[in-house]
């Protein structure tokens, strides 16, 4: 238990992906079964433990200590799980003679009935160290919130076994905690686990961005073109009555899209884009799609207002036949015939874009017929469906990004190699009537600049600091002073969380405009216009 607790403590404060991967692989390497598999399940969200409500936790602790002292403590710390883990009074004279393993903790929690749950939890807390108490409370209150995605955990497993992460993703849904056979395989002690489970995820094929000069080397006749839809890549798999909708990283997202899942009454594995609307009439914008994202439960009203559908562009399996080795041209033919048999309000075909040369396609790319199109995809007619991101068969050729000129407002210190540099920038644009303009923050970016530019901005931040709050500095920014940043971004969403009412997608610094006076940076209206278009 203590090693799991220590892992959580480290992960939550480690910002870099590589750092997290090292911590995870070290943990999986040094901890034995079944503890490591349970830890893995806790991180990927596959561990089921009956939830404990915060109010109950609070009640347990104030039975044991002065409520006033608890109040002072909670006010100071601000996080209930952390406060309870710190103040939990160990019973007088109680010296635990055994540190429970993660498996014992999970076992006792899973075996607890609803009525004796609180008692089981308090016994566990009595026996645990402070860090372990925090980990236990996190397990029972649901959601570790340690900044590690299931995908990253799978990457750590891949690193551990020196295998491709696609192999782990393909296996994943056929496995269950504590994943003993998976670890045995990764450590070379057993064969790769085989699974009889149905409707497993198939690792997806990804594309490369078109770079300067790429197209000149390619023959347009070798490639099909399609619109690049800015939805969510999904894989719909139905097999022997089992239906699953997967995200591109193999997470099962069926629960978030019950309307689409209900229409999945076929025997196939299809690849496509999840969008909202009715494909026969209208395709919703990204803002519409957002109404369906990151929701725990979807009300019937939302489902009706923003119905989910799938725009299909590839077939990996149809009626039990694995099609992945066939060329794209052949798969496309099968797909076209197959989609005709599906519910037309939930499935349609991603149309091909006819073109004869790259110039024609370039014109189409720059003026797509729908706002949710973010460019074109190029797919080699003769290529099989390959997991991962092979260079050559698939390209994405995105519409040029939007840019605005914004003024640097705040800078925050980075981590690791950047820990002594102010490398995360919040920038704003002008708003308000002429003569009393104010900067309103519209986004944050922490890449897009060279190391040399980083040094220049860092110096600028240090020389123009007007206020400091912890690792953040507020930078001089008014009509006459300020550093103008050209910010590139992919799109804009309405946001109620930001004062400006807009949120940028994928913002990055594209140029430093040392030459441009702050007063000439863009106004909020420029962004608002983009939102309405």
């Amino acid at each position: 238990m203590n090693r799991f607790a220590e892992l959580l403590d480290r992960l939550v404060l480690t910002p870099s992906r590589n750092g997290k991967l090292t911590l995870l692989t070290d943990y999986f390497r040094s901890v034995e079964d079944p503890d490591r598999g349970l830890a893995l399940a806790a991180i990927t969200g596959d561990l089921s433990i009956a939830a404990v409500k915060p109010a109950m936790l609070r009640a347990l602790v104030v039975e044991r200590m002065d409520p006033v002292l608890f109040g002072y403590s909670y006010d100071y710390v601000g996080d209930l799980a952390e406060t309870v883990s710190l103040v939990w009074p160990q019973p007088q004279g109680h010296i635990p003679n055994h540190v429970p393993t993660l498996a014992e903790v999970v076992g006792r929690l899973q075996a607890a009935s609803r009525s004796d749950g609180p008692k089981v939890l308090s016994r566990l807390l009595d026996d645990a160290s402070i860090s372990a108490r925090f980990a236990i409370i996190k397990l029972v209150t649901g959601g570790l919130r340690i900044g590690v995605s299931a995908r990253l955990a799978k990457q750590a497993l891949a690193d551990l076994g020196q295998v491709d992460v696609a192999e782990i993703e393909e296996l994943w849904h056929g496995l269950a905690p504590p994943y003993t056979e998976l670890f045995a395989w990764l450590e070379g002690r057993a064969e790769k686990p085989t699974s009889a489970a149905l409707a497993l995820f198939r690792p997806v094929m990804l594309s490369n961005a078109v770079d300067d000069g790429d197209l000149e080397k390619l023959d347009p006749a070798d490639y099909a073109a399609e619109w690049k839809w800015d939805g969510i890549r999904v894989q719909a798999v139905c097999e022997g009555g089992v239906r699953r909708l997967y995200s591109r990283t193999g997470d099962d997202v069926s629960g978030a899209f019950p309307d689409l899942a209900a229409a999945m009454n076929f025997e196939a594995a299809l690849d496509g884009e999840l969008l909202v609307g009715d494909p026969r009439e209208t395709t919703g914008t990204f803002s519409d799609l957002q109404q369906r994202l990151n929701r725990k439960s979807v009300s019937p009203k939302i489902q009706q207002q923003y119905p989910a559908f799938m725009r299909c562009y590839d077939a990996l399996q149809i009626d039990g036949e694995d099609l992945r080795a066939l060329p794209f041209a052949e798969r496309r033919k099968r797909l076209e015939a197959f989609v005709k048999t599906l519910d037309p309000s939930r499935f349609d075909l991603s149309p091909l874009v006819a073109f004869s040369d790259w110039e024609t396609l370039e014109r189409l790319r720059q003026a797509p017929p729908h706002p949710i199109i973010e460019g074109v995809m190029l797919k080699r007619w003769d290529s099989p469906y390959l997991a991962g991101r092979p260079k050559g068969p698939w390209f994405k050729w995105k519409r040029d990004p939007h840019t605005i000129d914004a003024v640097l407002m705040y800078a925050q210190r980075g981590h690791g190699k950047r820990s002594s540099f102010y490398s995360d920038y919040t920038f704003g644009v002008w708003s308000g009537p002429e003569g009393s303009e104010e900067l309103v923050p519209v986004g944050k970016a922490y890449f897009g600049f060279t190391d040399e530019e980083l040094r220049e901005i860092d110096k600028y931040v240090r020389d123009n600091t007007i206020e400091r709050f912890g690792p953040v500095r507020s930078v001089r920014a008014d009509r006459r002073n300020g550093l103008v940043l050209e910010v590139a971004f992919e799109g804009l969403n309405r946001s109620t969380r930001h004062k400006s009412g807009v949120a940028m997608r994928f913002p990055r610094i594209s140029r430093l405009r040392w030459d441009k006076p702050a007063a000439e940076a863009d106004r909020i209206e420029t962004l608002q216009a983009l939102l309405d278009s």
Binding site: G19, L69, Y72, G416, S420
Partner: protein
């Protein structure tokens, strides 16, 4: 028992600091005064410019290193455990376990005994003498970590975490932020006790004080300046560097390869504090008493009355109330928690 003296007549807060009217001296005054008794060398307790200073020899030495030899008109070294008479008031210094030279000051007059503990801790620390509980009528305690959430783990466990991380990330450097007086030397000593025998790189701000500790018989092993400009980044791969916390936000830290920022402080108990400060590896190592130590100490002094100063007074006063011990906050101005 009858006391010829009321506690509040023996020691009382004044803007300059805690004042003893019958003895005509101040304890840890924050402004220049005639006669100052000083508990330890942290700059918020030990200021320069007093006419005369009474402190332990180590505290006097440390003040000399920090402020120059002319930091006071006259100085007098107090030997631990020896009682001095100041204008009829009996004054005795006892070890406080906070940093090298730190002392509690016991003041006795007319049958009333008050112990001003200054800053103190109860965890073992190889760089200073351990705290001695003194029976008294009134105990003046700090409350830097006076909340039940502050529970300092054993320091060797924290040091083990740095060494584990250094083994996990051999290509990166570990920068440990630690206050220049006391904490830094304690951290270095702990690294040595844990078997770390490579050179430890230190920031220039630590050099004089660390040298002083070494001269007093505290073996810190081989220390090398982390300030050599000619050294390449790769040379610092796997290095452990100790410096004042402020240095790590500075350009100074750029010479180190992909540093993992560590901070040795009792505040690191709170995750949000670590997060806000950009600390990746918090080390909960404190030179102040944690909640449990505060409570044990209050009990051990047998004091009937507790005066609580700098820190979170309200929680400790509340605890005393629940225990039936008279307690009140003593509002002294000017103390920060420099030592943590």
């Amino acid at each position: 028992m009858f006391k010829a003296m009321r506690a509040s007549d023996l020691l009382k807060p004044r803007p300059e600091g805690l004042y003893c009217p019958p003895g005509d001296f101040f304890i840890d005054p924050v402004r220049p005064v005639g006669r100052a008794l000083i508990t330890h060398g942290h700059s918020d307790h030990a200021r320069s410019g007093h006419r005369s200073v009474l402190a332990t020899q180590e505290t006097l030495d440390i003040m000399g290193l920090r402020y120059g030899e002319d930091f006071a008109g006259t100085t007098q070294a107090a030997a631990l455990g020896e009682t001095l008479d100041i204008n009829g008031v009996a004054v005795t210094f006892h070890p406080a376990g906070h940093v090298m030279g730190s002392a509690q000051i016991c003041v006795e007059h007319g049958g009333m005994r008050i112990v001003a503990s200054g800053d103190y801790k109860r965890q073992n620390d190889a760089t200073c003498l351990p705290f001695e509980p003194i029976r008294c009528d009134v105990f003046i305690t700090e409350a830097t970590f006076g909340l039940p959430v502050f529970r300092h783990p054993p320091d060797h466990e924290e040091i083990a975490r740095v060494l584990k991380s250094a083994a996990q990330f051999p290509e990166r450097s570990h920068l440990i932020g630690a206050y220049a007086l006391g904490k830094a030397q304690r951290v270095m000593r702990l690294l040595r006790d844990a078997g770390y025998d490579r050179p430890i790189y230190i920031h220039g701000a630590l050099a004089k004080l660390s040298e002083y500790y070494q001269s007093q018989g505290i073996d810190l092993g081989k220390l090398e300046p982390g300030t050599v400009e000619s050294r390449g980044k790769a040379d610092f791969a796997g290095a452990i560097v100790v410096g004042p916390p402020s240095a790590f936000a500075d350009r100074w830290a750029r010479r180190f390869p992909d540093p993992i920022s560590c901070f040795a402080s009792g505040w690191m108990r709170i995750r949000q504090r670590a997060k806000q400060g950009g600390v990746e590896l918090p080390l909960i190592i404190s030179d102040h008493a944690d909640w449990d130590e505060l409570i044990i100490t209050i009990r051990e002094t047998g004091a009937e009355e507790i005066w609580v100063t700098h820190g979170r007074e309200e929680a400790l006063v509340r605890w005393c109330e629940l225990e039936g011990i008279a307690a009140r906050p003593l509002h002294l101005v000017g103390y920060e928690d420099e030592g943590d």
